[in-house]
Amino acid sequence: MSRGNISLAAFLWLVIAFLVLYPLSILVVESFKIAETGGWGIGNYLEFFQDAYYLKTFGNTLLLSAMVLLTTTVFGVPLAYILARYRHWGKTVFTALILLPIVLPAFAGVFAFIIFFGKYGTVNLLLMEIGLIEKPVNFIYGLHGLVFIQSLHMLPFIVLGLSAGFTNIDPSFEEAAEVEGASGFRRFFTITLPLCTPSYLAGAVLVFLWPFTDWLTPLILGQVDLLPSVSYINISYHFTDMHRKYMGIVAVVVSSVVCISLFLLARWWVEKKKYTGLSKGTTSEGRVIEPSMWVKSGAYVYMVLIAILVLLIPIVLGLSAFSRRWTFEVFPTYWTLENFRLILLESPGLIKNSFLFSGIALIFGIAFGLPVAYLIVRTRVPGKDALDFVITLMLAFPGIAIGVSYILAFWKGIPLAHYWIIMPLALFARRLPYFLRMAHSSYLQLDPSLEEASEVSGAGKIRTFFYISLPLLLKGVLVGVVMFFIMAFQEISTAVFLYKGGWETLPIGIYLNWHRGMEFGIAAAMAFLMIVITFILLLIVSRIGGGVLKAAWGAGEN
């Protein structure tokens, strides 16, 4: 344990204290302020848990979470199984398509589905045209629409976790069950699925927490009696009414507590339930089966249906972006580049801001994340586990909590919020876990003896880091870098509280265009632009990741 490591740890703690612990504690402190008297107390909390409206909101949010989790699970389990186990054509394409919503901004889906499934959207108009219905069907406005959109957005988290689980199960567990006489469904429900619960739960908790975070989708769909939307409305619309503002803060704190508790509970449970097989040398591919013709066709139909829903998002947004006033028509008829002209000429700052803020946040993220990963994996510095813990908790915090706490903490005492640097700082704090997780796991996969071999060969610590550790870490870290950037690029929950005139990012621009003037075309064009940019980034990473680096790792390693 060298002195260098300790001072590094101390410095990183300082950063966390300033950017995470301090603002979040201010948030908690503010929630105890009483508007009428100007004093302190638990009055706000008492009111929150006695007031019929707030209780209803709380209940609604829990209900929504449960329904979204149920929907993603029912649709995700077969999907994950098909992707992980069936030998079929187009595995890569379907996997990519089904995971796509992870990198699409959540609000992109809402706009696309409003256009497509709205009251006078494409589907309703089509159905009326062929005479199946007389009045438009309400596909989307309401709880059912909310469940549909949030479920589609969160489906990848279930599929990702479960299919990894299905692939990684030691095949001998299932073979043993088969030998014992358990076949088909029985084996799946008694052996396979229970063994996958840890990997399922890791994704499930994120799905369950999403309705506590997403305030924008409900707002657009007109379902505002949910915790995050109420917090947002109370805090940003009624900031002059101190009481409502404090009640909004209380709602944020309550959401945060729920999120953190559930997150920790799930983590504890996963740790406890982690199943480990004794056998070594299992196949990396897992168990792959060749289904019968009928099953296979069914699987294809199922995958294609979900892929179509996902693909609707970029397609509908694209159509809308290149047309004018796409309303009361099945498909747009007037094609134009006007929307893009408006974005590029009238508000080019948005694109610049998005790149600038996300880029700076990314630099902070790398400069902070790599040393933290190093400390956690390679040293025995005291307090490193707590550091890891605090950063991981940021995964569970609703974005709204960070935005609100930043504006409370950095307005008066430390007036950082008057400068634009607050934007990248907030993005950095909110998205840090994404990068850290990946840096952490690539550090874990890096066998220490590879570094030791370099030291024994006569290389110093610095040379070893740049010639051995960094190139080997790069593959894992690169994915983290791109994910971090994409996540920061899409961030709106935190940024919406902090932006000032001239600091708007693309997501904020999208929100404002919808909110102020129902400028759907421009909002859609911006969302489409974001999707294109995200795609280009993903393409670059897969090119670099697949091309140059693949040669070094060869086909044998995964």
Binding site: V456, S457, G460, A552, W553
Partner: protein
């Protein structure tokens, strides 16, 4: 003259003592093996020599230079070559770049590097594969890359940490001899860590048997096999029958004693050199399976002759193993494969007093 001298080395991890104040000398040009079960501290000792672990106490002198007492010498400055258990061949570098990595740091001329690399490639039998990536090599070939990388810089000391344990049995045996002759030819002082006693016996000039952080015996393979220092060593190296008993009295001069055991009032045993054992001491009368003789008939003139029944018979190709019960004690016996005895048969065991050791 000792080339590596380990003085009073002490290393612990939190509360667990890994190396407990050991003393060890390795002579110039010698191959010394640290042998012991996992957790005995052999790898930690090796890593201390390499400088990859910092011991709490003690010193390590390499070629007259202290590595610890006059300031910690970094691994990069110790002039060692090391072969790791999992090879640690860098997956992002071609074979040739793996091998010349250290030479480049030494800032040798391009031509010199080329020359040395070619030499060592031929030496380990990798010539022609220098442009491959490690993932395109077999386990044995990767092991050769690791060996080449360790040898190419003409290190003062070569450290090998269970280098063969990840290979299959056949290859492992082949490489043992190869490493031995290679290292001997180059005359490098080396320390080899293994838990495989057969490997240790084949490869090393001397063996240091370790248990729980201590060196319990140091000697040639033959010394350790013939005269194990205690019950642990005897059990770890080869197979040994142990019969618990108590010393009764000295017999036939001062190097023989009688031992009372569960099945016999007196078994005659040889004392190891320079040991003094008082009557009443709890000991183990110990004999190797191949040193036990068997007879179909009792011969009254012999001492240490006991009647037993064959419980199991195991055919091992070149010889047979009998598990023979004498009262309640099971004795393992190794005999030539052509002996006709069958399970259930009674016979007489002869525990040759000259081969019957007294161990604590």
């Amino acid at each position: 003259m000792a080339y590596i001298e380990i003085q009073n080395l002490f290393k612990r991890f939190k509360k667990v003592v890994a190396v407990n104040r050991i003393q060890l000398k390795v002579n110039k040009g010698e191959m010394l093996t640290l042998l012991g079960p996992s957790g005995c501290g052999k790898t930690t000792t090796l890593r201390c020599i390499a400088g990859l672990e910092k011991p709490e106490e003690g010193d390590i002198i390499i070629d007259g230079k202290p590595m610890l007492s006059k300031g910690f010498v970094q691994p990069s400055k110790r002039g060692i070559g090391m072969v790791f258990q999992n090879y640690a061949v860098w997956p992002h570098m071609k074979v040739i770049n793996n091998i010349v990595y250290g030479l480049k740091i030494q800032k040798l001329s391009k031509q010199k590097i080329q020359e040395k690399a070619q030499q060592v490639l031929v030496l380990v039998g990798l010539d022609g594969l220098e442009d491959r990536y490690p993932s395109q090599l077999s386990g044995g070939q990767q092991q050769r890359v690791a060996l080449a990388r360790a040898l190419v810089g003409n290190p003062k000391v070569l450290l090998l940490d269970e280098p063969l344990s990840n290979l299959d049995a056949k290859l492992r045996e082949e490489l043992r001899f190869e490493i031995k002759s290679l290292v001997r030819r180059m005359g490098i002082t080396s320390v080899y860590v293994t838990h495989d006693q057969a490997e240790a016996m084949v490869i090393s000039d001397r063996i240091a048997v370790m248990e729980a952080g201590n060196v319990v015996q140091l000697g040639t393979a033959q010394e350790i096999y013939k005269k194990p220092a205690n019950r642990f060593v005897a059990d770890f190296i080869g197979t040994m029958n142990f019969v618990a008993g108590e010393v009764v009295r000295a017999a036939q001069g001062k190097d023989m004693v009688y031992v009372r055991t569960e099945f016999s009032e007196k078994i005659l045993c040889r004392l190891s050199d320079n040991t003094e054992i008082l009557p009443g001491a709890k000991v183990y009368a110990s004999i190797r399976p191949e040193d036990v003789g068997i007879f179909s008939e009792p011969s009254p003139d012999k001492e240490n002759l006991f009647k037993g029944t064959i419980v199991h018979k195991a055919y091992l190709g070149n010889f047979l193993n009998f598990f023979i019960r004498v009262d309640n004690t099971m004795v393992r016996v190794q005999v030539p494969h052509h002996l006709p005895h069958e399970e259930g048969q009674e016979l007489y065991l002869f525990l040759n007093p000259q081969k019957c050791m007294l161990l604590l």
